[in-house]
């Protein structure tokens, strides 16, 4: 029997839930949410085949605002949850949402090993250089001189360079976006989702409440002056000399993603439990 099934065209609205975001007005994360739904619609992904996993923080509220499957996980542990899900259900599209505190500090170790493992998923970090939800503590990407009552005189600590770390750890796709350009961000996200392996997309997303100075980012960002590369050496040099505002796909690797062979465990769980009986 031949079935005539037409592929359904999805609209952005198909990926939005009825929950209204509670981010501060002006927050870059509104645009990021828009970019998520645009990218999903662009790729025509059925919402029930997409999972958005997150940790803790303002950015991590995003799964509730989508109509896809979602998992609002433990602080810094979103990648572990997502990796487990993806290797078990490789048929699903897994997108992980995090922030600079959740992703680079509490979840820093998971970040390294997720890049190294290269499971086929997309990791989006909404970087605002601050812990917004907990009222403005410095994060791993905060500038050393950022001076507030919570960090008098600044931390004087060199900021983390997530893109360089991602490259050195084995990420297979590296890009930087600016939340204020949701169409371009959606295009990059779509490319990241399509690319096999671990795709890392850092999105500069201003915190207008605790970092009002970041409103100036829209004047500072600029397209990366050179085309993307698949050469790790070239990418390393470029990323090391990067001014932090180069926007676009910066590295697209060719490593095969990690996916364990499907199959049943060769041991019965009840047998295993016996070994742990007290």
């Amino acid at each position: 029997m031949t079935m005539n099934v037409e592929a359904r065209a999805y609209k952005q609205a198909d990926y939005k839930s009825d929950v209204k975001p509670i981010w501060c007005p002006g927050c870059g994360d509104y645009h990021v949410l828009m970019s998520f739904t645009r990218a999903f619609a662009q790729l025509g992904l059925p919402p029930e085949e997409v999972v958005v996993v997150s940790g803790i923080g303002c950015s991590s509220r995003i799964p509730a605002y989508t109509n896809c499957y979602g998992f609002h996980g433990v602080h810094g542990r979103s990648l572990a949850i997502a990796a487990g899900l993806k290797v078990t259900r490789p048929d699903l599209t897994v997108v992980v949402a995090s922030g600079d505190g959740d992703g680079y500090s509490i979840g820093g170790n998971h970040f390294l090993h997720a890049c190294r493992r290269n499971v086929d998923m997309t990791y989006v970090v909404m970087d605002n250089h601050i812990y917004g939800m907990t009222k403005g503590q410095p994060s791993p990407t905060t500038e050393p001189e950022f001076d507030t009552a919570l960090s008098p005189g600044g931390t004087k600590v060199r900021p983390f360079h997530p893109l360089v770390v991602a490259l050195a750890s084995g990420a297979n796709f590296i890009a930087r976006c600016f939340s204020g350009d949701p169409n371009q961000t959606a295009d990059v996200l779509a490319e990241a989702i399509k690319h096999p392996g671990f795709s890392f997309v850092e999105i500069l997303s201003p915190c207008v409440t605790f970092r009002p100075d970041e409103r100036a980012w829209k004047e500072q960002v600029h397209p990366a002056p050179v085309a993307e590369t698949s050469d790790q050496g070239k990418a390393a040099r470029r990323l090391m000399t990067d001014d932090g505002f180069n926007i676009g796909i910066l590295y697209r690797g060719t490593r095969a993603p990690y996916q364990p062979a499907a199959g049943k465990a060769d041991i019965d769980l009840s047998e295993l439990e016996k070994d742990f009986e007290l």
């Binding site: 007005p25 002006g26 009222k135 169409n183 409440t209 829209k218």
Partner: protein, 176 residues
């Protein structure tokens, strides 16, 4: 990043209808989003203004759809009416929103959108080779000019607030 939109190519009347429709729909989406933000942050005056603006843009979108007759302008818009880099002319800039913003600020956002739309349709009138495209773009341009005048009239009712409009006696930076 790129505030001057790289606009979709308008080759015929259907393209123009699709782009005009999409511009209105993009505006509806943004105004609804802003209304929701103001609702969450308990700024009811702004909720009403943004909902009214969304309704008005939605009516314009429906008018364009009616004008398109049997032609599926929605599907065509989805296919080709993409402002590839930057924003659709009437999309309000979300990054300028503030939880204490006033009607004056809302109208400034609206004015900027209407002016961008006016500039966009004016550029089509000036460059279109197809007479029908030129004619419809001219009508759309006149409509946008009317909207610009309307917002200016509304701004007389809502003068610019004092410089302390963003002062909050119970600010979110309570640890500072």
């Amino acid at each position: 990043m790129s505030k001057s939109p790289v606009a979709p190519k308008v080759g015929n009347l259907n393209d123009l209808l699709a782009v005009a429709y999409q511009i209105e729909i993009d505006a509806v989406e943004r105004y609804r989003l802003l209304a929701d933000q103001m609702e969450i942050h308990n700024n009811p005056e702004l909720v009403k203004i943004f909902r009214d603006l969304a309704r008005a843009e939605g009516i314009h979108g429906e008018e364009i759809r009616r004008l398109a007759g049997d032609f599926d302008v929605v599907a065509h818009a989805r296919e080709m009416a993409k402002f590839a880099k930057g924003e659709s002319p009437e999309e309000a800039d979300l990054s300028t929103a503030h939880y204490l913003m006033t009607p004056w600020h809302a109208l400034q956002l609206s004015l900027a959108g209407e002016e961008r739309a006016l500039a966009y349709f004016t550029s089509i009138v000036e460059t279109a080779k197809d007479a029908k495209v030129k004619e419809l773009a001219g009508e759309l341009m006149e409509e946008e000019a009317e909207h610009v005048n309307l917002v200016h009239r509304l701004l007389r009712k809502y003068p610019e607030p004092s410089k302390t409009w963003a002062d909050d006696l119970d600010p979110p930076q309570s640890l500072e």
